[in-house]
C-alpha cells in the first residue's frame, strides 16, 4: 500500500488579534491509497484547520505533512499551488463559478494546469460522466439543483486525477435524500474507481458510511477507528 498522505505531529497556531490560538496540537496519521476516511469532529475541534493543511491551502506551524511523499510544510507559495493539483478539493458550498457552465467549471483545474484545449474536452466529459451528469454539461450552475452542483464540484475535483478527493462537509448543504445519493456516489467512486477519499464532517451519519473514522476534539485526534 502506498501512502498518499502522511501527517506527522502537525500543529497550527493562529493569532486572534494578539492572542495565540492552538487550533491543532500535534496531529499524526497517514492515509493509504484507496482508503475512504472521514475526519469527524464538532466545530472548533480543528478539523477545518486540518482540512486547509491537507488541501495545501496553508502550512503547519510545526510538524511535517507529506502529500504523495512530498513535504508540503515548507514549500513556497508557488510550489504549494502546484501541490493543490494533487488534491481534489470539494467545498461545502460547492464553490462553482456562476458564470461558467458545468463543463467550464470542471475544465478549470485543467485550464489552470495549462493543458491544451483539445485534450481537455474529453477528460471533462469523462469526469462529468463519472458523477452521472453526462446530460447536463452545458447548464449554468444557477440552473442546477444543489445535488447536481455538488456533483459538478466532485467532477471538478476528479478531473485532474488527483491523489485523493478532499471533501469538506459534502452533504452539509443538501437535503437528506440528496445527501444519501451523494454518499452513494462517493462510496461508488471509492469502490469502483479506487478513488482515495477524505471527508471532513461533523455528521455522524456521513462518518458511518466510511470505512475509517478519525475523531477529533480540541485540536487532537482522539480516536482512529475502522468501522
Amino acid at each position: 500500500m502506498t501512502e498518499v498522505l502522511q501527517v506527522q505531529d502537525v500543529t497550527k497556531t493562529y493569532m486572534m488579534g494578539s492572542v495565540p490560538v492552538d487550533a491543532l496540537r500535534g496531529v499524526s496519521f497517514s492515509i493509504q491509497k484507496g482508503e475512504l476516511v472521514s475526519i469527524l469532529g464538532p466545530s472548533g475541534s480543528g478539523k477545518s484547520t486540518l482540512l486547509n493543511l491537507i488541501g495545501a491551502l496553508d502550512r503547519p506551524t510545526s510538524g511535517t505533512l507529506f502529500i504523495e511523499g512530498i513535504d508540503v510544510s515548507t514549500l513556497s507559495d508557488n510550489r504549494l499551488a502546484e501541490m493543490r493539483k494533487q488534491v481534489g478539493f470539494v467545498f461545502q458550498f460547492f464553490n462553482l463559478i456562476g458564470r461558467l457552465d458545468a463543463q467550464g467549471n470542471v475544465d478549470l483545474p485543467l485550464m489552470i494546469s495549462g493543458m491544451p484545449r483539445r485534450k481537455r474536452k474529453e477528460r471533462v466529459l469523462e469526469a462529468l460522466r463519472k458523477v452521472g451528469l453526462a446530460e447536463r454539461t452545458t447548464h449554468k450552475s444557477s440552473e442546477l439543483s444543489g445535488g447536481e452542483r455538488q456533483r459538478v464540484a466532485v467532477a471538478r475535483a476528479l478531473v485532474n486525477e488527483p491523489s485523493f478527493l478532499l471533501m469538506d462537509e459534502p452533504t452539509g448543504n443538501l437535503d437528506s435524500k440528496t445527501a444519501q445519493e451523494m454518499m452513494n456516489l462517493v462510496v461508488e467512486l471509492n469502490d469502483e474507481l479506487r478513488v482515495t477519499v477524505i471527508i471532513v464532517t461533523h455528521d455522524q451519519e456521513v462518518a458511518n458510511r466510511t470505512r475509517r473514522t478519525l475523531r477529533m476534539r480540541d485540536g487532537r485526534i482522539v480516536e482512529d477507528r475502522v468501522n
Binding site: N52, G55, L57, D58, D77, N78, A81, E82, R84, K85, F89, F91, N95, I97, R99, L100, L108, P109, M111, I112, S113, G114, P116, R117, R156, N160
Partner: protein
Amino acid sequence: MNVRDTFSYSLGAIRLRKLRSGLTTLGVIIGIAAIVALLSFTQGFQVAISSQFQEGLATDVVTVTSGSGTFMSSPDEESDFALYTNDTALIGSVEGVLLSSAVSSKQVTAEFDGSDQMLSLTGVNLTAYQEIYSTFVTEFGEIPTSPADNEAIIGHTIYDPWGNGTHPISVGESFNAYYTVRNGTTLVPVNITLTVVGVLEEIGSSAFGPSDTGLYIPLGSAMDYFDTEEVSRIVVKLASSDEDFIATVSSSIEELFFGEVTVNSATAILDTMESILGTVEILLAGIGGISLLVAGIGIMNIMIVSLMERTREIGILKALGAKGRSILVIFLGEALIIGIIGGGFGIVVGSFLATIFSSGMSPMGGQGPSRFSSSSSLTITPVVTPTLMVMALLFGIVVSVVFAIYPAWRASRLMPVDALRSE
C-alpha cells in the same frame, strides 16, 4: 494557464458585468478620443497654416512695415514713423534685395449689383507686384503695363463668389467704391469709380500677398484717392529664400531705418506660428492626458471593487492550483481588454469629433457674403496618422494596465484560506 485561456477567462469576467465594464471602457474611450481629436485637429490646423503660407507667399519675400514692435505690440507704443514711396530706393540699396515695391491699402466698401462688400483696396506697382508675387496673374483680362488711374484688377472670389457662374462683376464693367471720412461732425463718403481690367487666377487662402478678395489699382491712383503720402508697407523680393540670408537682410533693412521699421518674413512668421501651435498641441494633449488619467483611476477603482467581489472566486482558483501569477495575469488581462476596446473606439470617436470640429471651423462654401468676410479662413482637415493611432492605442492600453497593476497584485497576493472564507 495558457494565453488564450487567460484571455477568454478575463473576457468572460468582463462580459458578466456589462454595464460596469462598459462605463469603465467609456472612460478610456473619452480619454483616447480627446487626445486623438485634439491632436489630429491641431496637426490639421498646422498643415493648413503651413500650406497657406507656402502657397500664398513666396518665401523669398519680406514685408517692411513701420513700427519697431512685433505684431504683438500695443497701440500705445506705436510709433508715428511712416514709410514713403521713395523708401523703396533706400531698401533697394541693401545687398541681397532684388526688388522692392511700396503698397498702400485701405478697407473700402465696394458696390456690386446693389450689394455692398467691405474689401481691401490695395495700391501697388502692378508690374513690380507681378515680379514679386508669382500668384499675381490674371485668369481673364490682363494686367496693364501702363495702367490708367481707374483700372482695377480683382481677386477671383469677387468675380465668382458662389462658384456657380453668377458674376457680380466681370472684365470691362465698372463699379463704385467708397470710404468714409469725418469732416467736422459730418461723415463724408469718398468715392472712386473703377473699371475691371483683369481677374486674378484663384489663389486659395493666403494671409499675405495677393488675395482672392483683393482689389488692386495702380499705386499712384491709390495714394491720390486715399489722400496720403504714406504707404502701408513695402514688399521686398530677396535674392534667396535661405533662412539665415533672410534674417541677415532683414536686420540690415531694420538698421537702415534705425529700428523704426519691422521686417517680417513668411518663414519667420511660420516658425513663430509653428512654435505657438506646438505649445497649443502640448496643452491640448495635456488636457486629453488628464481625462485619460481620470479614466485610469476609474479602472483602478473598478478593479478594486471587482477584486473585493471576486475574492471567493480568486480563492477557488487558488484552491484549484492557480498560482499568484495566473491571478495577476487574469486581472491584467481584463484591463488589457478594456484598454484595447477603449483605445480602438476612442480612435474612431476622436477622428469623428475632429472632423466635426473642423467642419464647424471651416467656411461653409456658397453662402455668398460670408465668403468675402472670411477671406483668410482655413480649411482644416484633421490629420489622423497611423502613428497617432498606434500611439493612442498603446497609450490607452498602457494606462489601463498600469492602473490595474495594484489591484491585480493585491488579488494575486490573497491567501487561499482567507479568500475562500469570504462571502
